[in-house]
């Protein structure tokens, strides 16, 4: 195709302009990828906490099994509870041993007697957490109530802040990259004004003139998107081992390659749209 050849020549002959266009696109898509990872990750973390037993009630040693069963039925009768799981002293010991299997000293110290039995309760709606926790606190069987409302609400607040910052930043960067692209393509059109005039005089159609510029915009967009995505993905893969340790069993990582490729595809599409819109604006502005 002759317009691809023309576009390639245009790119090659002004490498700094091409570099500027690709850099700003890279930056934009780096930000898009980064915030996509962050938002996807944090929403998974929230999902995890939301689906986990959100209230843990530890029973006093003197609590009788039939009282505990009665309490369980009472909780289920409210209709707000998704599940109630009884963890006996022996179960608790198992969990404890599992968590501390690398530390024999700690294992020796603890027996099933020391550990309390407990209920792990999750609610259908996160708002009902405090209600349930109040009920449990009042019960004479319960010695202590721990619930993760704080964790979830803090996370939710953070996620919504990240989303706002991310969207603002991405919109701003997209606008800036569009302005830069319009300027760069505009400069290129101005530089070739004479050539364009000659081609028009010998019978070139407007689209024949426009296509190379539009194609150039698409190329800048897609190259920038691929580089931005590659940097963000490489960073993510590199950080995966550390993050896995940090997140301790929360199933956020590793991200599947399919999802990464889908992200790349969407970004490339967005980049092509961004590129073609910017160059079309430039063409409208500078080619009459």
């Amino acid at each position: 195709m002759s317009f691809t050849k023309t576009a390639w020549k245009n790119i090659r002959r002004s490498p700094y302009q091409a570099l500027a266009a690709i850099s700003i696109m890279t930056l934009t898509f780096l930000a898009i990828s980064f915030f996509t990872f962050l938002l996807a990750g944090s929403s998974k973390v929230i999902d995890y906490f939301e689906s986990k037993p959100q209230v843990t009630a530890f029973f006093k040693n003197e609590a009788k099994p039939e009282d505990i069963t009665a309490l369980q039925s009472q909780l289920q009768a409210t209709g707000k509870v998704a599940s109630v799981k009884f963890v006996s002293k022996e179960d608790a010991l198992k969990i404890y041993r599992e968590q501390n299997k690398d530390d024999p000293l700690l294992l020796d110290l603890v027996t099933a007697d020391v550990l309390p039995s407990s209920f792990e309760i999750s609610t259908i709606k996160i708002e009902d957490l405090s209600n349930i926790s109040n009920t449990l606190t009042k019960s004479p069987l319960v010695s202590e109530v721990v619930y993760q409302k704080d964790v979830v609400s803090t996370l939710s607040a953070w996620t919504s802040a990240i989303r706002k910052i991310g969207i603002t930043l991405i919109v701003l960067l997209s606008l800036v990259s569009m302005f830069i692209m319009v300027t760069i393509i505009g400069i290129k059109i101005s530089q070739k004004k004479e050539d364009i005039e000659i081609m028009k005089l010998i019978g070139a159609t407007n689209w024949y003139i426009r296509w190379p510029f539009l194609f150039e915009g698409i190329v800048y967009g897609i190259v920038g998107a691929v580089i931005g995505w590659a940097i963000a993905t490489a960073g993510l893969l590199y950080a995966t081992p550390f993050l896995e340790t940090f997140l301790k069993g929360i199933p956020v990582l590793p991200v599947s390659y399919l999802q990464l490729l889908i992200l790349l595809g969407l970004e490339a599409l967005l980049a092509a749209i961004l590129g073609i819109v910017s160059s079309y604006l430039a063409v409208l502005r500078y080619l009459k």
């Binding site: 002759s2 005039e197 000659i198 081609m199 005089l201 010998i202 019978g203 070139a204 159609t205 024949y208």
Partner: protein, 270 residues
């Protein structure tokens, strides 16, 4: 083939580039357009390829109503009318071959398929051996041929040549005119703007004489016919004009452009 009916062109400055010009050029004719700079030769050409629109009048080229031609048909018109520009308008970053191939390229013909056509045309103008050179490597006469080759490559029905001998010595000028004459013999209508009186007189073709945007004379000049008095004085004028031109050329290009457009008011391209 070409028909201008009461065509006037008024420029933004208020001066008339053309005033009430009517003329008909039949298919296969060879016509000279003469007159001093600013007489309106280039303006007629630019109107014919719809580079500018006339203020009044109707223009018909090849059954096309040029004035009312829809925008998307302009490129079709320009492909049917070969134009040798006064300033040639060759692309300096392309070889002669690529320059001549350009009209084919913009038509959407693949480069590989154009090679034969381009080489034929280059052979016709005698430039085949220079096809891979760039414009800066060629002489004035060769560049003129290249421009003619580019105008011919789409086999147009009409060839417009604007001062194709303007910057050339007498011998080279004759070669160019001979080339145009050969092209005409193959059936292409040729309109050539010039102020080279020698060529006009000796070729014995139809001559349209423009002065200040009006046709002052339109007749066939027979070879060896005695030029009447007016012609002589005109010739004299032309010479002084040429002198001025070379003077202007020695000064800077920018100055030249400015002086031209202000003094002629006709055409920035001159």
């Amino acid at each position: 083939m070409i028909k201008l009916d009461k065509v006037s062109k008024k420029f933004g400055t208020g001066t008339f580039g053309l005033l009430d010009v009517s003329l008909v050029v039949e298919k296969g004719e060879f016509v000279f357009l003469v007159g001093s700079t600013g007489a309106g030769k280039t303006t007629i050409f630019r109107i014919l390829i719809r580079d500018v629109l006339p203020t009044e009048g109707t223009v018909v080229v090849n059954d096309w109503d040029v004035v009312h031609l829809p925008k998307n048909k302009i490129s079709s018109l320009r492909k049917k009318v070969g134009f040798v520009f006064q300033d040639l308008k060759l692309l300096l970053d392309r070889t002669i071959f690529e320059n001549v191939a350009l009209p084919l390229e913009v038509t959407g013909v693949k480069i590989e398929e154009t090679a034969k056509t381009v080489e034929d045309v280059l052979a016709q103008v005698g430039l085949l051996e220079h096809k891979d050179k760039f414009p800066v490597q060629l002489s004035g006469g060769e560049l003129q041929r290249a421009a003619i080759a580019r105008a011919l490559v789409l086999s147009p029905d009409i060839l417009l040549a604007d001062e194709p001998t303007g910057n050339l010595d007498a011998a080279t000028s004759w070669e160019i005119v001979k080339l145009l004459s050969d092209i005409n013999k193959k059936g292409t209508t040729v309109v050539m703007a010039t102020h080279n009186a020698d060529i006009v007189k000796s070729l014995g073709k139809r001559v349209i004489h423009l002065e200040k945007g009006k046709i002052v004379d339109d007749q066939v000049h027979h070879s060896h016919a005695n030029p009447h008095k007016d012609q002589n004085s005109e010739e004299h004028e032309e010479k002084s004009e040429e002198k001025k031109l070379s003077e202007a050329k020695s000064s800077s290009a920018g100055e030249k452009k400015e002086e031209k457009s202000s003094s002629t008011g006709e055409d920035k391209k001159e």
